[in-house]
């Protein structure tokens, strides 16, 4: 029943911080290959990640919390990925999107592809697929939110 009086919510500081962090995951504008097309779709109107608090793709790593590594990481790009990751402020999270990023994918026998971006930066959530659908990536972001709140099922 609404009375107009302010209510009281009790929580711990950690819970409040986790809630705040998990619902304001701003990703970095960082597309490497064809998976980036699907990544762009998650912020468009059909699968809108603004609903889950990932409001906008930031253009600077210093303003973003989440790096979605979307696309094949070549050996030439790997030091740059590392550098972008280092420029992001804590707390920071990484989603490995697509099978190329997870273990090399169809380029696993090539000379130029990093066999898994987790050799370069630590990864929180892996989203398999070639490419993953925007829904799958949204599920990955929700899984990351659960992981931040300590609710994720391994």
């Amino acid at each position: 029943m609404k009375t107009g009086e302010p209510g009281i919510v009790t929580t711990t500081l950690e819970k409040a911080l986790e809630w705040g962090r998990s619902n304001s995951l701003w990703p970095l504008t960082f597309g490497l290959a064809c998976c980036a097309i699907e990544m762009m779709a998650i912020q468009a109107s059909k699968v809108d990640i603004s609903r889950f608090g990932s409001e906008i793709f930031r253009n600077s790593p210093r303003q973003s919390d989440l790096m979605i590594v979307s696309g094949t990481v070549t050996k030439k790009m790997a030091p740059r990925v590392k550098r972008l990751y280092d420029e992001m402020p804590y707390p920071k999270y990484v989603i490995a999107m697509g099978v190329c990023v997870i273990q090399g994918g169809p380029y696993v026998q090539g000379y130029s592809v990093v066999l898994g971006v987790d050799r370069v930066v630590p990864v929180d959530v892996y989203v398999p697929g070639c490419p993953p659908t925007p829904e799958a990536l949204t599920y990955g972001i929700i899984t990351l939110q659960k992981k931040i709140r300590g609710e994720a099922v391994r």
Binding site: K75, A78, R83, Y111, R119
Partner: protein, 153 residues
């Protein structure tokens, strides 16, 4: 070893394929350019183990026709066509980078994609994939290749 025979044949799509010795390559391409094949679409290289093959894909904008010119080299040296087409510059550098074909008369024959100290040419059949190489960036922003992972990894 298959002996190379100069001549002309048709591809599966009806495209003319002209096979020339590399001594006559420049004159052939110059004649074709004067005949209207003014656009150099692509230069590709093929590793046939015994010899290397270089294929030039030309396009005639008037006739809307493609033509392929093939040549072979046993020592990995082919005359450059940069005097005819400026765009051949980077194409030939790519060939040199990945296939190790040297183009005689090229103004700036350096690697295009890989760092200068990369060992071997990756698209050659005898390239050893087990020898994994890594790329790092030095303080000036230049890439360099190493066999161990280094700081950036």
């Amino acid at each position: 070893m298959v002996e190379f025979q100069p001549g002309e044949e048709r591809g599966k799509d009806g495209r003319r394929i002209i096979k020339v010795r590399k001594e006559n390559l420049f004159e052939t391409l110059k004649r074709l350019k004067s005949e209207g094949y003014i656009h150099l679409s692509l230069i590709t290289g093929v590793d046939r183990k015994d010899y290397l093959e270089v294929v030039y894909h030309l396009h005639s904008l008037e006739k809307n026709e493609y033509i392929s010119v093939k040549t072979v080299t046993y020592n990995g040296v082919v005359p450059s066509v940069t005097p005819l087409w400026k765009s051949a510059d980077w194409e030939e550098r790519e060939e040199y980078d990945l296939m190790g074909i040297k183009f005689e008369g090229h103004p700036n024959l350096k690697r295009l994609f890989l760092p200068e100290n990369w060992v071997g040419h990756p698209l050659r059949k005898d390239y050893d994939l087990k020898n994994v190489q890594y790329i790092n960036v030095d303080e000036d922003g230049e890439d360099y290749a190493t066999f161990d992972q280094g700081d950036g990894w």
